[in-house]
């Protein structure tokens, strides 16, 4: 009934049909009562619509607080006035009152789940709210907000992508994958969905699927340097070094002013023990980003290999400053210090590397130590 009321209030055509329908159903006996109800409803509608229009005008002129106050008064008088709720949601959204906006839009969506403006508003408000939560370091709340919105607007590709990305960043891979797969199903050619899905699959180590989706994305956006880098990185992880190099070089051709593809080429060369090529690649990285912790580490490793421990120390000392969480840098620094006879510092670095490894293991494996149920 509330759903049909929404239609009645929003459209004269629907109002007419609805009234006819009611008359037909109830027969002559109830007609008087029905006519009375309709008259009341039309009066309320007329009165509310007028005010909603006024509020909209206020909002358009930038007087958001007044508009909001006016709309709040309307919905307080008439909680079934969905047009007012919807307008209130828009105003709250403009005021960055995202949680309030979501509540307003959800009131509309409860009555009319397929309302496009309310659905769009809910998605915008939820994403804005989640972004703010995320920026404030409250990832759980961000995810909960997106999940709530997903309950009201289950087929929004934009929302599914936002949810998937948030879940992925929290290492809730299965839920991220489900949401992004749904987004991809709804819009198979949506490049954002493809890219995000590939990212999650990469995190889930579903390498084949990630590679296929990245390649599909690149068919749509062949000149996306970042995606070529991403594919190159993935192929490197799969030890498909020649294919990886092709993608990374393509990324560089598209975007010569970058560091990451050069860095990745350096890593490939380092693994292949092609030290000259690795050095050339790291040098390019450091030319534009002298504090690049990865490239400094790479140069340190190369120097260590060449038994030039003084040079290794110089690079790695910087690397651990600019990339303090990079275990590789700490470990090679410890090894270098040991070679230089600085045993105490070496052990300190090694302990730090072990501590970092343990922390990263905890994060990666998600294990906790606690009593059983």
């Amino acid at each position: 009934m509330s759903l049909r009321s929404g239609a009645l209030l929003n459209s004269n055509k629907y109002s007419y049909e609805y009234r006819c329908g009611l008359a037909a159903s109830f027969g002559a006996v109830g007609l008087f009562l029905i006519a009375a109800i309709i008259a009341t409803s039309l009066n309320a509608q007329s009165s509310s619509s007028g005010t909603v229009e006024q509020a909209r005008a206020l909002a358009v002129s930038g007087q958001l607080a007044q508009a909001s106050e006016m709309l709040a008064a309307i919905v307080s008088r008439d909680p079934r006035n969905l047009a007012a709720w919807e307008e209130l949601g828009q105003v709250q959204l403009a005021q960055s009152l995202n949680d309030d906006a979501m509540k307003s839009f959800e009131t509309v969506l409860k009555a009319n789940p397929h309302s496009p403006p309310a659905g769009a508003g809910e998605v915008r408000a939820a994403i804005a709210s989640a972004l703010a939560d995320r920026a404030a370091g409250n990832a759980d709340r961000a995810l909960a907000t997106l999940a709530r919105a997903k309950g009201y607007v289950p087929d929004s590709v934009e929302l599914l992508i936002a949810f998937g990305l948030q879940a992925d960043s929290m290492q809730i891979y299965k839920d991220a994958e489900t949401a992004l797969t749904e987004a991809h199903k709804l819009e198979p050619q949506n490049p954002k969905a493809l890219y995000a899905l590939a990212h999650v699959e990469l995190d889930e180590q579903m390498m084949g699927e990630a590679e296929a989706n990245l390649r599909a994305y690149l068919k749509i956006n062949p000149d996306d340097a970042s995606a070529h880098y991403g594919l190159g990185h993935l192929l490197y992880m799969l030890s498909k070094d020649d294919e990886a190099k092709t993608e990374l070089e393509r990324s560089i051709a598209l975007q010569p002013h970058q560091t990451e593809s050069y860095y990745e080429l350096g890593q490939i060369a380092l693994d292949a023990h092609d030290d000259a090529a690795a050095k050339a690649a790291y040098t390019k990285v450091l030319a534009s980003a002298p504090n690049h912790g990865g490239a400094l580490t790479g140069m340190g490793v190369l120097s260590y290999r060449a038994k030039d421990y003084a040079a290794a120390e110089s690079y790695l000392k910087q690397a651990v400053v600019y990339a303090p969480d990079y275990v590789t840098a700490h470990r090679y620094y410890a090894m270098t210090l040991a070679r230089l006879g600085q045993q105490e510092q070496s052990e300190r670095e090694m302990a730090l590397a072990e501590q970092l490894t343990e922390e990263q293991n905890k994060l990666r494996h998600g294990y906790t130590l606690r009593p059983g149920p």
Partner: protein, 503 residues
């Protein structure tokens, strides 16, 4: 964690027999401090005697090898040089030394030998640490652990998981010196072999060619160890300096199985250490200057093993082409891994990596028979030529499943020679001896050992593929005693017993 397997000829009839290790029942929950005991035949360790026709008979009871505890590993060595191979069985809450009486029976001599150990023992190695002609015993232990009701993994039903090793403290290995009178003395601290680790696999070789045996230890989720033996007979852990402590990125990994042999035929023993999916099995090429190169990527091993989890592993030449290949028993450690990582598998097929020469390996599993398509929770693995046909076979143990005997039916047309070294001044098993076999292709080296792999013990005989040559141009043996022996030209396709000369 699984259990081990040993391939050895306990009755000296010339045919390898099989010993399989088993656990014991556990209650849920198990009270802290419990030492689980075997309750009946279901949990017995098993000795299978190979009959003349190549079939096996269960002789466990007759041999007296049923066991008592929650056992895990096994190491084979003739510690009293009486010509009969003895057994050391490791496990949780105490180990057992079984003396081979030479009449098909064994006697549990644990107490009088002083080798009970304690804690959670895993792989063990018989090796003559001080070259006195008597095999000593090094026993790894995993972590300090008890039956406490810890919960790891998610709380959702079905998502409980084994705890990460980081949760538990490391513990020291044990080193038993063979006193020569049936008694052993624990001297790990004296020898410097007492660095706390989370040891699962042990391999031995003289890595720096200084004439003294060194030890390599696969530790789980911490740095790997290389114990270098110094001139005074004590050891110094040098994994970091030798560059085998971590992978090429300087990261630790879940070291489980290990083996040491010279895969690139440069006369220097190399190392392989298996680990978990996404870590890539670590292949370390010995550079000869006391350090190793992380050769996982350049060898192709990284690409092949990216998504695999490996346990027991051995270098062996399955096709007799003169190049040492790699066999690995596989399967993830977490039995519900598919729930969190759908692309990974708890049960995995065996992996056979063929040595293509020039330091490269290729996955030869698919073309090597249907058995390489079967998924198991593989753990222990031991190599040996079960039917003495000149082709190395192997046996694999699985978690909650049967053991598998894999018969090598490779048709290559290549020739081979298998050497059964008998030490006299050296330990009788010749463990630690280095053999150099030269063919028209060049030289290849082998260090005699029953250790390596994971919880397991392989045939002590040294097997060499000769390729298309029907003979070895020369064979040179450096015995643990330091005695060098030249054999000259040796006909191929034969098992050859070689006795250590007096000088």
């Amino acid at each position: 964690m699984g259990s081990g397997v040993a391939l050895f000829d306990y009755d000296n009839d010339g045919r390898l027999d099989v010993f399989l290790v088993n656990g014991a029942p556990l209650s849920d929950p198990t009270p802290s401090g419990t030492i689980p005991r075997k309750t009946g035949p279901l949990y017995w360790n098993r000795l299978y005697h190979q009959k003349k026709d190549g079939t096996f008979e269960d002789v466990t009871e007759k041999a007296g090898l049923q066991g008592t505890n929650y056992d895990m590993g096994v190491a084979v060595g003739d510690y009293d040089n009486d010509g009969f191979e003895d057994l050391y069985v490791t496990g949780y809450g105490g180990n057992h030394l079984y003396h081979n009486n030479g009449n098909g029976t064994f006697t549990d001599v644990t107490k009088e030998s002083g080798t009970t150990g304690g804690g959670w023992s895993t792989s063990a190695a018989w090796v003559d640490l001080d070259n006195d002609g008597l095999l000593d015993l090094v026993v790894l232990r995993y972590v300090k652990w008890d039956f406490e009701d810890l919960w790891c993994g998610e709380k959702r039903p079905g998502y409980r998981s084994y705890c990460h090793p980081d949760v538990f403290p490391a513990t020291t290995p044990l080193a038993y010196h063979n006193d020569g009178n049936g008694h052993f003395t624990e001297i790990s601290a004296k020898l410097g072999l007492d660095k706390p680790g989370k040891g699962l696999g042990i391999a031995l070789a003289d890595f720096d060619r200084d004439g003294r045996i060194d030890l390599a230890v696969a530790n789980d989720s911490m740095v790997e160890f290389l114990y270098h033996q110094k001139s005074n007979g004590s050891f110094e852990e040098q994994g970091l300096m030798a560059q085998i402590a971590v992978d090429g990125d300087g990261r630790t990994y879940a070291g489980m199985g290990i083996d040491a042999q010279d895969y690139n035929d440069d006369g220097l023993p190399d190392l392989v250490i298996t680990n978990l999916a996404n870590q890539k099995y670590a292949l370390y090429r010995n550079t000869g200057d006391g350090s190793f190169d992380y050769a996982t990527h350049v060898s192709g091993v990284g690409g092949i093993t990216m998504l695999h989890s490996g346990w027991g592993t051995k270098f062996f030449d399955y096709n007799n082409d003169g190049l040492k290949d790699l066999i690995i028993a596989q399967g993830h450690d977490i039995d519900n891994i598919e729930l969190t990582y759908p692309q990974l598998r708890y049960k995995e097929p065996l992996l056979l990596m063929r040595n293509m020469g020039r330091g490269k390996f290729a996955d030869a599993s698919v073309s090597s028979g249907d058995v390489f398509k079967e998924a198991w929770a593989g753990r222990g693995l031991a190599v040996g030529d079960l039917d003495n046909d000149g082709r190395e076979d192997f046996v694999v143990t699985t978690n909650d499943g049967p053991a598998y005997v894999i018969h090598n039916e490779t048709r290559s047309g290549n020739h081979w020679v298998t050497l059964d070294l008998v030490g006299h001044k050296s330990n009788r098993d010749a463990i630690g001896a280095e053999i150099k076999v030269t063919t028209s292709r060049g030289a290849q080296w082998w260090t005699v050992s029953t250790a390596g792999s994971y919880l397991s013990s392989s045939d002590k005989r040294a097997h060499f593929g000769l390729g298309s040559d029907d003979h070895a141009k020369s064979i040179e043996i450096l015995w643990p005693s330091g005695i060098r022996q030249q054999l000259g030209e040796v006909k191929g396709d034969q098992m050859l017993r070689v006795d250590e000369p007096a000088k």
